[in-house]
Amino acid sequence: MATNTKSINDIRIDYYPTHEHEGIKFRRGHAMPYGATTVPNGVNFSISSSAATACTLVLFDRGAPQPFAEIPFPDEFRVGDVYCMIVFDLDVERLEYGYRMDGPFAPELGHRFDKSVILSDPYARSLGGRDTWLAEPNWDDVYPYRSRLAFEDFDWENDHPLEYPIEDLMIYEMHVRAFTQHPSAKVKNAGTFSAIKHKIKYLKELGVNCVELMPIYEYDEWENSKPNPVTGEMLVNFWGYSTVNFFSPKAGYAATGKFGMQVDELKTVIKELHKNGIEVMLDVVFNHTAEGDQRGHTISFRGIDNKTYYMLTPEGYYFNFSGTGNTLNCNNPIVRDMVLDCLRYWAADYHIDGFRFDLAAILGRAQDGSPLSNPPLLESLAYDPILAKCKLIAEAWDAGGLYQVGSFPAYGRWAEWNGKYRDTVRKFLKGDTGQVGEMVQRIQGSPDLYYYRGPTASINFIACHDGFTLYDMFAYNEKHNEANGEDNRDGGNDNHSWNCGWEGETDDIEINFLRRKQIKNALSILLVSQGVPMLLMGDEMGRTKLGNNNTYCHDNELNWLDWSLLKKNKSLFEFAQSLIKFRRAHPVLRSSTHFAHSDYVGSGYPDISFHGARAWNMDGAEYSRSFAFMLDGDHAKQGVIKDSMIYVAMNMYWESLTFELPVLNRDRKWHVFSNTDMPDSEAVNTLGKEPLTASQESIVIGPRSVMILVGK
């Protein structure tokens, strides 16, 4: 028999108020879940603190300068360390809430309680206060980052995370605002989540099937903002690697943030990307928070449970393994639970396909800062059932000197941003000697680093948000960060870049040809390497940041993607597009296991072989700057799928080289897919319609060039 839901609620005594304070009715709440959740007739608030002596719930109407109520938690409402309360008859649409925590202010003991400050809920699902990007805040606001509720009523239709095998991904690292903010993007609601929808067609044309969004958790663009001493322009936190709240999407990235609809807007974009076959990965920053060191603002964690949330020195100061002032105490059981709860929430409620963890080495540090051999947080994430199909990617180093590329505790699940891939390929492209031996490892998915983990542990990239763009890598020898207002001291110095003969922009036709060729060389190497390729937003159209390798603070053309480059550098875009298509068409390029270096299917060829000027003879000497490799298509996906032969020759000498070609069996012939030494219009051929090579015996590889052949 059908039962009326309302009548059930009416008879449940736990949804009736038992207390009243200044006209507000409430009762003891539920300890779980943490945060603020709607229950029949009311809202359940739950927050924990291991050392607070008292807690007060502070309620605001949206945007109001003063709270409309402050309700101290009666002692009988505390369960262990958790304060919980159900408050009835609240306008959940307009409600903003926070807490005051009372307790000792004793930094030497790790406590920094201050009941004069209203604190954000670490579990708030939405935050107010920074609703419109760069709208100047009210600096006198008694509570600048206001916790709000979010609702679980989004219509996902049949959406589901796409769950592509990781080796089939083509990742595109992008910044939400920078992607569409430039006037040339010509989209409605530029710079917002919503605007991404208008560029999905472009992403599909390019061929990417995964976007990795730079931080979208609520952060404050005004944090550490200052006028540029040179230009007077306001420098802001543009990249967002400084989290204010881990559960809330950045309202300022939503065109509907001013309505408090950022959750729905972001979910709409994710649903739309999924419909178009594109996964969504988040770049998450759990290594530190926006509260900074002892000079920073108290926003949330510091005032709730400083000693629990942060790694502290014996004197009570903040360990700074993040390089930004504080370090989240990730392996404290309370914090570990918060990180897990957070990622589960994003996976379950936002259908997120994977996460890239900023400075992830910190996630493996013990509470005293020492590296753990078996970090419980990393293990928990690896084995969590809700995250079971999510990709987990570590930036396997931190600012405290812990470098774990190749040794990150992976539990058979974690992949890594392969910093060694980036450095080796850059040095090889630059023409450095002594790189061939290492290049052989890198193009195979770095078995020297990931022998037991397989090539899928390697996220291959040559450029990312940190450092030079691909174009700048071949236009600048030195970083040019003057616009950051730090006397060019910030940003890395180990760029392994080469300006091709002139520092910065030039009209020299030969230099510009060489730069474009180098970008094509880089794209070619990236797309034929085993592992998972990642492309930085705009590198496919020759995006420049004018030599600035650390543009974290610029809300301007240095970061905004200039879509007019698509026309100017059409040949680059088409080259990138063709290479991505090529990778997708050839499963032999996307192996989930390392090569065996043997012929285990009886095709007559080993799965991979290395070559030089003489076939089957690679010159791996110190002076060598060239080599070729051949993949046998019969070994594709461990011999399960039949593919073509693929031969890739790379010559980083400044002169041409002639390479003898390996002889093909079964009447197959070598065809040219791409040759970066050719003029732009001829650098790449149509997939499936590749012309025969001029000779089947040998090929001439131009100076600083990469050729890709197909044997079929």
């Binding site: 009523d153 939503a254 309505f259 807007e265 709409t268 649903k271």
Partner: protein
């Protein structure tokens, strides 16, 4: 402009019931409660179509959007929601928050 709301449910022979709600003024979080009550009322009649006349609605806050979601959940996924002559800003918000997929924008209810 102050908010007002009118509704009626009519039976179309052979096709089922049609609930029509006319919204005037600004739909903010306070008026959204009235909107929700009206939806609850017409839901009792199990209409097949819900026609929301928004020609004279100048603003819709998040609370109003949530009532649209609620109406689909309350009456069932087979409910067709028609929004008659909404102003551009409202269509824009529906689009950005993904609700445009769940409703049909019309100049006039088709039957």
């Amino acid at each position: 402009m102050s908010f007002s709301i009118n509704s009626n449910v009519s039976e179309v022979v052979g096709t089922g019931k049609v609930a029509t709600i006319e919204l005037t003024g600004e739909l903010d979080s306070l008026s959204a409660r009235l909107f929700q009550k009206e939806i609850e009322k017409v839901a009792l009649e199990s209409p097949k179509d819900l026609v929301l006349d928004m020609e004279n609605l100048s603003f819709m806050a998040s609370a109003g959007l949530r009532v649209l979601i609620f109406s689909k959940q309350k009456i069932g996924p087979s409910l067709n929601i028609y929004i008659v002559k909404p102003q551009e800003a409202i269509v824009d918000t529906l689009d950005k928050t993904g609700l445009l997929h769940s409703v049909t924008i019309v100049d006039k209810y088709p039957s």
